[in-house]
């Protein structure tokens, strides 16, 4: 059993974190570097639908979009993954057969995590058996806020085990953690417990991903890498809707962790409407003109 005091609170200065983000937002990304960034961002998108009213048809259409985001422009990359609920994994897997696009499934009593651990493990196993390549789990925020860090560590480790070969993304739900210190601590616990990725949000709680939270998590990943040589991925999710925002996130990654993280193996965007804005900007860069939103499929 791990003792609570294994996890050290790392002080974070809120003002300075936000100032750093402000400074990075001043990077001016133009011309070739912009085209490169837009395509890179598109290749990092986890195209997501997580609604109670999701249908098989909708998931199939989303998968089609993932494979070929804008058919009239063939050199546009496909997205990284499609992210769905466990009972849609099979449909997504079938639709994406023969492609490199992964199927990610939320699991472990998403989005609240308010179920006993055995049930959450079953939920995870089900998603993996259905064919999920990646599992997006949630932590028990209540336990974390109570200071039950061992509980959080253990649940992540248990779900990681249930994942088998599937990659595990650990959702911290930073909107419920309140302080950057908590974000940092939760990131450290998740990485120690075996997370392949750490992820900001479920998308069901506001605020979802923010840049300062992402910077704090990237710095946690950097310290973990310094210490263990293990590269952990990062996924901001929720609230990222514009290409401009996406490029700002890429600047954070580039200047915090460097080139090794600038690919979809180590960085993802959890988003649904972002893809179309990226496409619109890519088309603008290539043709010099903006096309109306109706020229881009809404899936």
């Amino acid at each position: 059993m791990i003792q609570n005091n294994k996890f050290e609170v790392v002080p974070i200065d809120r003002v300075a974190v936000e100032e750093r983000v402000g400074r990075l937002n001043k990077r001016s990304i133009k011309k070739e570097s912009k085209v490169q960034a837009l395509k890179l961002a598109l290749s990092m998108v986890d195209l997501t639908t997580l609604e109670g009213k999701d249908s098989e048809g909708k998931v199939r259409q989303l998968c089609q979009k993932a494979k070929s985001p804008h058919p009239s422009m063939p050199d546009i990359p496909s997205v990284a993954a499609v992210c769905v609920y466990p009972n849609m994994v099979r449909i997504a897997k079938e639709s994406l057969r023969g492609t490199k696009i992964n199927v990610a499934s939320v699991a472990s009593a998403f989005p609240s995590g308010m179920a006993p651990l055995p049930i959450r493990i079953e939920d995870t196993k089900y998603a993996v058996e259905e064919g999920a390549d990646e599992v997006d789990m949630v932590i028990t925020r209540g336990a974390f806020l109570e200071g039950e860090y061992n509980f959080v560590f253990d649940e992540i480790a248990a779900i990681k085990e249930a994942c088998g070969d599937a990659h595990l993304k650990v959702i911290l739900e930073t909107g419920e953690l309140h302080t950057y210190e908590n974000v940092r601590l939760a990131s450290d616990i998740a990485m120690e417990a075996g997370a392949d990725f750490i992820k900001t949000s479920t998308g069901k709680i506001s605020p979802a991903a923010t840049q300062p939270v992402t910077l704090v998590m990237l710095e946690a990943i950097r310290d973990f890498y310094y210490k263990t040589d293990k590269m952990v991925g990062m996924k901001p999710a929720g609230g990222i809707r514009t290409a401009k925002q996406a490029i700002q996130y890429l600047v954070l990654v580039k200047e915090t962790l460097g080139a090794a993280w600038l690919n979809n193996e180590y960085f993802r965007f959890g988003a649904s409407s972002l893809a179309n804005d990226l496409l619109m900007q890519i088309v603008k860069q290539q043709t010099g003109h903006y096309q109306g939103p109706d020229y881009f499929s809404i899936d």
Binding site: P11, D13, K26, E255, L262
Partner: protein, 501 residues
């Protein structure tokens, strides 16, 4: 165009390369700010009595763009005769008009200057970067907006002087001679001119010879603002022109910002006169980093403390004192952070570190780099590329240095940080104070009580906590010991331009 040597010496890093790779993949494309709309004249005359007048000896000197080594323009060289003319114009304006003017009207003129600075902010920012080499990000976001803020702030005092010092009657001093440095040309002009005018004084100002462009653009602005003739006079020239101002008999106050050496000369020549003076001189600020600090944010603070404006900052934090148990970690993080600093074209919006201001300063910083190596320090420089023309120096760290090294004791005024470790807070305070300077310092800790304990033990005019290089017109600024005499900014800065009876 010039044969001057601009090639910098590079030093092989004496430590292993970083684990992180910041160089490959996704480089930012060039993003230069356009200077097409900025009109720079071929040469600038002196601004005396509300008119641009030729220098008496008709001599002009070149101003060089330090990032390209090309001529920007030429400025007039003011001689004793010209300075005398400027002082007479200032005296006439003081007696006749400015000091008797209704204080709220005086305030109105200063507000107008502030607003016009905002309107012309872009031109001023570009000019500052071309003439002085500082990155456009800083001239655009710091120098020019802050300069306007100082005018706005002191404009507000113009009609409230009666209330500023209860029980005392404020009176203007008369004609103020003001000599400013090259590191923040327009901002230092604002620090000097705004409080002087608000208090009812008139001024003769001399900008630094390498960076006079924005001062002359300011002269044009003053003319356009309709300020009474002679209230602001600007004379360009080198040290000799400055000496003529300092030694002029009809000047009531000298305000100087610059090097400690020149400050000492000025103080000597003012001895025995009844001129008032304020001197804002050099520094060798210590940054004290405790083990309980938020380290990643502290690293950002250190970067801002020493590499802001190429380290050409009198209050720069150029000595890092780091608690020994986190020293290795902090040095590693600093080295990684250096790799992401972009050195290059001052007009590129992504540039973090621009050009060293002049050949003279470039040589000076390089001589300190050589000295540090000779003294046995370990040197680390970022691996970034720098432009071939112009005066550029990579951000530099010296580790394995001690209190007795000259690079630790003397002001380098360049992008060079020395790193020492300490064990106890008392040791840190002792090392921080063990310098003839005392302008600014910084403390990083998560613990509030430690900030107060250490902060109040530092013999230093400014102490920033968990941040650095933050300025505000309401806050006084100035030094202990050889860092200067008097305060600028805030109420304190006001009293430096008044006789309080």
């Amino acid at each position: 165009m010039s044969e001057t040597k601009t090639k910098e010496t590079t030093y092989k890093p004496t430590s292993p390369n970083s684990k992180l790779d910041f160089a490959s993949l996704w480089e930012y494309s060039e993003a230069p700010e356009s200077s097409a709309n900025l009109e720079i004249k071929d040469k600038y005359d002196l601004f005396i009595g509300g008119k641009f007048v030729k220098p008496s000896k008709d001599r002009y000197f070149k101003s060089i763009n330090p990032s390209s080594n090309e001529e920007v323009t030429q400025f007039a060289e003011a001689t004793q005769k010209d300075v005398d003319k400027a002082v007479k114009a200032a005296r006439k304006a003081f007696k006749g008009e400015w000091s008797d003017l209704n204080p709220s009207s005086r305030g109105k003129y200063i507000y107008r200057i502030a607003r016009m600075l905002q309107e012309r902010a872009r031109e001023f920012a570009i000019a500052e970067s071309i003439d002085g080499g500082k990155p456009i990000r800083e001239s655009r976001d710091v120098d020019i907006p802050l300069a306007a803020a100082y005018f706005f702030y002191y404009a507000g005092w113009a009609d409230k002087l009666e209330y500023a010092f209860p029980g005392k009657k404020p009176e203007a001093l008369g004609v103020c001679g003001q000599i400013i440095p090259w590191n923040f040309p327009l901002l230092m002009l604002a620090w000097k001119i705004a409080p002087a005018l608000a208090c009812g004084n008139t001024v003769v100002l001399k900008p630094a010879e390498t960076t006079s462009l924005t001062a002359m653009m300011f002269a044009e602005l003053v003319k356009d603002a309709g300020l009474p003739d002679g209230v602001v006079n600007i004379v360009t020239g080198a040290g000799q022109t400055g000496a003529e101002i300092v030694n002029h008999k009809d000047i009531d106050k000298i305000a100087f910002t610059g090097s400690t050496n020149v400050g000492k000369i000025i103080q000597k020549s003012l001895a025995g006169t009844d001129k008032k003076y304020t001197l804002e001189l050099g520094g060798k600020g210590a940054l004290i980093l405790f083990e309980d600090a938020p380290i990643d944010q502290a690293v950002e603070g250190i970067i801002n403390a020493i590499y802001f404006n190429q380290g050409h900052v009198c209050c720069a934090g150029s000595r890092l004192l780091v608690q020994e148990n986190i020293a290795d970690k902090v040095i590693m993080k600093l080295k990684d952070r250096l790799e992401t600093l972009i050195v290059g074209d001052p007009l590129d919006k992504n540039t973090d570190i621009g050009a060293i201001n002049s050949k003279e300063q470039f040589d000076r910083v390089n001589s300190y780099l050589e000295l540090g190596v000779e003294e046995g320090a370990e040197v680390y420089q970022s691996k970034c590329s720098v432009p071939e023309n112009g005066y550029f120096i990579r951000p530099t760290l010296f580790t394995n240095v001690s209190q007795s090294n000259r690079v630790v004791q003397e002001e380098i005024f360049g992008p060079v940080l020395t790193v020492q470790s300490f064990r106890t807070a008392d040791e840190a305070i002792e090392k921080a104070n063990n310098t003839p300077f005392g302008l600014a310092g910084g403390v990083w800790t998560d613990k509030g009580s430690k900030i107060f304990k250490v902060g109040s033990a530092l013999r230093s005019g400014v102490v920033w906590a968990n941040t650095y290089n933050k300025f505000d017109p309401t806050s006084p600024f100035g030094g202990y010991k050889e860092s200067g005499v008097g305060r600028e900014g805030g109420l304190h800065g006001l009293s430096a331009y008044l006789n309080l009876k």
